[in-house]
């Protein structure tokens, strides 16, 4: 079987970043907790492949550590979204037309109605800045995405013959949801999960850019960009490197998501907003 080209390119880019992040758990070219003001803002060289930043830290090491932060935040946020959204969606579909369904769906609409960045800022104002609060803020807005998608696709299965057969045999609605519907929508969830993961990376970058994400000395791409913005005209690489890292990683994940969709089931629809 021939793999979709987008999956190959996307998978390669994603693996590159995942590999870099995994490697950073054990080793980075330099220790980013040691500053060296005298060797700051060096352009890329054999010593520092991506140059050094405004505090003399190795940019390659910073990007590797930043990848780790991005992945951890986005992954946990998507986890929250799936963990809450999928059960809620299954529940709403199983009790379709009931008051519970209505409450769940209106609740979803309501979350969508809130300006996400403002809520993220407020959450940070209440609990203080940090990676955990970025995860919660991004996670909350992932819940309705998964709940809606789950409900919609679960509904289409509830009228199918094999579900009717299961109902006739006396299985409870929750058992049917878990045993029959969940496996059928799993592919869709993987594809949407990839898309949400890439959106989570972008959201983490935006939050840490305005100072709401992980705090130093933890590296994060958004803060690297925020620190570099005034240096763009003096040492362009400091602003370009983290920006390119974000673009390439998100691009890789999106291509992988598209490729996975083509591979797993060309008919499924994914929402991207």
């Amino acid at each position: 079987m021939r793999l979709p080209r987008s999956l190959l390119i996307g998978g390669f880019l994603s693996l590159l970043f995942l590999g870099g992040a995994a490697l950073s758990l054990f080793w980075t070219p330099y220790d980013i907790e040691i500053l060296s003001i005298s060797s700051r803002l060096q352009t890329p060289s054999a010593m520092h492949w991506l140059g050094t930043d405004q505090l003399g830290r190795d940019m390659l090491s910073m990007v590797m550590m930043g990848t780790r932060t991005s992945i951890a935040v986005a992954l946990l946020a998507v986890g929250i979204g799936m963990g809450l959204g999928v059960p809620l969606g299954l529940l709403a579909a199983a009790r379709r037309g009931s008051l519970l369904d209505e409450v769940i769906m209106r609740g979803n609409d309501l979350i969508f109605a809130f300006p996400s960045l403002v809520i993220a800022i407020l959450i940070t104002a209440v609990f203080g800045a940090g990676a955990m609060n970025a995860i919660i803020a991004i996670g909350i807005f992932n819940v309705p995405v998964f709940a809606r998608l789950t409900r919609g696709s679960a509904l289409s299965f509830w009228s199918r013959d094999f579900i009717l057969a299961a109902r006739v045999s006396g299985k409870s609605a929750s058992r049917i949801s878990v045993e029959h519907i969940l496996p059928n929508i799993a592919n869709l969830m993987i594809v949407q999960g990839t898309i949400q993961f890439s959106l989570g990376i972008l959201a983490e970058a935006a939050l840490s850019y305005i100072g709401l994400g992980a705090q130093p000395p933890i590296a994060s791409w958004g803060r690297m960009l925020a620190d570099a913005q005034t240096l763009a005209s003096i040492a362009p690489h400091v602003a370009l490197v983290p920006g390119m890292a974000i673009v390439l990683m998100v691009l890789g994940l999106n291509l992988m998501g598209d490729g996975l969709r083509d591979l797993l089931d060309p008919r499924i629809r994914v929402t991207r907003t």
Binding site: E33, L35, I37, A125, G128, Q215, P216, P217, T230, I234
Partner: protein, 491 residues
């Protein structure tokens, strides 16, 4: 058809071309923060003073750029022999911008209002020594004190002590009416404040016809706005790393002036292990001031060794007491019973000196075994939790009030330094009016807090101003927050 296209192109080009402005009588000034309102007597925001001080509102006395206090609305004064009574003679022919006359009644109203029971003046303490303000005649005011106060004239020069009129004070927050050389004209909230020359000003009239203040908090936007010549002057330019670019560009001039801002690494003296002077000393020796000034401020700022402005004649250089010496720091920690260091918090308010400095200090402390967990806070949060709630191990802040060493005599102040000897010293200082005796007492106080390593003393904050080449009359230093445009002119 081709003709039509050309016409359209030409039309849109001219419409998109920026309107050429007669530039030599108007000045576009940028600053970082927008003032919340324009009443300097009811709010602590420095941005209020930046816009209105001396431009719109004036006090009995006023600051000059070099920090000296000179006559303002009071042209002269006499002090009684016991130092308890001040008689001020007011300038004659002074009117407010609404046409009403400024006289002794307005002075009494302003000062009484500032020190009243229900006053919302942010610096009410400035007026605490005043017992009574009385009107002698329309151009003479007498101020009686509870006790001699060597700094009354200085206190009256603050923006919080400006003279306002009872007729217009209610609306001063949005439509300030003062006596200054400029009149308030328009405020597009979130964008700009416009002022115009006061044609009936009592003193030397302003050279500029008008000026507008714009508010650009984002450092990138600040750089772009100056480079694109969207603004003529940026006071308090937020990104020192860009200053060399402006210096190299003949279109601009860069002024780096000093402020009254002692930037310190404050330690919570009541919280273990900072209650141990050995630990505080260890922290002080772990810090490389020059690396912080270079790394966070790109070289602008003067190192300090105590809580006092280096440009003040009474300053004592005590930086050697806390010289950078990580070896000594580790030894001191071991002596304090913490050979493996300890973990504490480092709360950072928004200014870049704190955020950038904090990152560098955390790394320097890590080198001697101290783990400082950074938490960035907004001002409101910092005021509530750190400043008022004392919930911190360390924090970085610049104390921009002039002559504020007195805060060390208040054991409840956020860093909670409680030393009766210093408190007694400060009490003596307040009632001492002899200059030589005051100098000696101030030197003693500076040494006392430096030897006690109350806080880590980093540097005196510098304020960079970037302006179009040729603009004259801007303040170099910031003895108080002010963008005084009364003497500013284009070439």
């Amino acid at each position: 058809m081709k003709y039509l296209t050309n016409l359209l192109l030409a039309g849109s080009a001219s419409l998109f071309a920026s309107v050429a402005m007669a530039q030599n009588t108007n000045l576009r000034v940028a600053m970082q923060l927008e003032p919340p309102n324009l009443d300097p007597t009811a709010g602590a925001a420095q941005a209020i003073d930046s816009v209105v001080y001396s431009n719109i509102f004036e006090g009995l006395t006023r600051f000059m750029s070099d920090g000296s206090v000179v006559p303002g609305l009071a042209k002269s004064w006499e002090i009684s022999g016991d130092g308890l009574s001040y008689t001020f003679h007011l300038q004659s022919g002074v009117t407010f911008h609404d046409g009403t006359t400024m006289d002794a009644e307005d002075v009494k109203f302003s000062l009484d209002r500032a020190r009243a029971e229900d006053s919302t003046n942010a610096q009410k303490a400035l007026f605490s020594s005043i017992a009574e303000v009385s009107v002698v005649d329309p151009l003479t005011v007498q101020i009686t004190l509870n006790a001699p106060n060597g700094s009354l004239l200085f206190n009256l020069a603050w923006g919080d002590a400006v003279i306002v009129a009872p007729e217009s004070i209610e609306t001063a927050a949005t439509k300030p009416i003062g006596t200054g050389a400029f009149m308030f004209s328009n405020w597009v909230q979130g964008d700009r404040i416009d002022i115009v020359r006061n044609p009936t000003y009592w003193g030397t009239p302003a050279t500029l016809d008008s000026a507008s203040f714009r508010f650009i908090s984002d450092p990138t936007a600040a750089f772009a706005a100056v480079m694109a010549e969207d603004v003529d002057v940026f006071v308090g330019f937020p990104a020192p790393e860009n200053l060399p670019q402006f210096e190299a560009d003949p279109r601009f001039q860069v002024l780096v002036g000093n402020t009254e801002g002692e930037t310190i690494l404050a330690m919570n003296n009541a919280l273990p292990p900072f209650d141990n002077v050995l630990v505080r000393q260890a922290v002080a020796h772990a810090i490389d001031r020059q690396a912080i000034i270079d790394g966070a401020m790109y070289g602008i700022g003067t190192p300090i060794g105590t809580h006092f402005a280096p440009h003040n004649p009474d300053y004592v250089d005590l930086t050697a007491l806390s010289a950078y010496d990580p070896e000594k720091s580790r030894a001191l920690l071991a002596e304090a019973g913490l050979p493996d260091g300890f973990t504490t918090t480092l709360k950072l308010p928004p200014p870049s000196y704190a955020r950038r400095g904090g990152e560098i200090i955390a790394a320097q402390l890590r080198a001697v075994g101290i783990t400082a967990e950074i938490e960035n806070q907004e001002w409101a949060q910092w005021l509530e939790n750190t400043f008022k709630g004392h919930d911190f191990g360390m924090t970085i802040v610049s104390h921009t009030e002039p002559m504020d060493i007195g805060i060390y005599a208040n054991p409840k102040y956020y860093f909670q330094y409680d030393n009766p000897a210093l408190q007694a010293l400060m009490t003596t200082l307040t009632s001492t009016t002899d200059p030589a005796a005051r100098s000696a007492l101030l030197a003693q106080a500076q040494t006392m807090i430096a030897e006690d390593y109350v806080n880590g003393y980093l540097f005196e904050l510098a304020v960079p101003t970037v302006a179009r080449a040729g603009i004259n009359g801007l303040w170099l230093n910031q003895p108080t927050a002010a963008i005084d445009l009364t003497a500013v002119s284009w070439p």
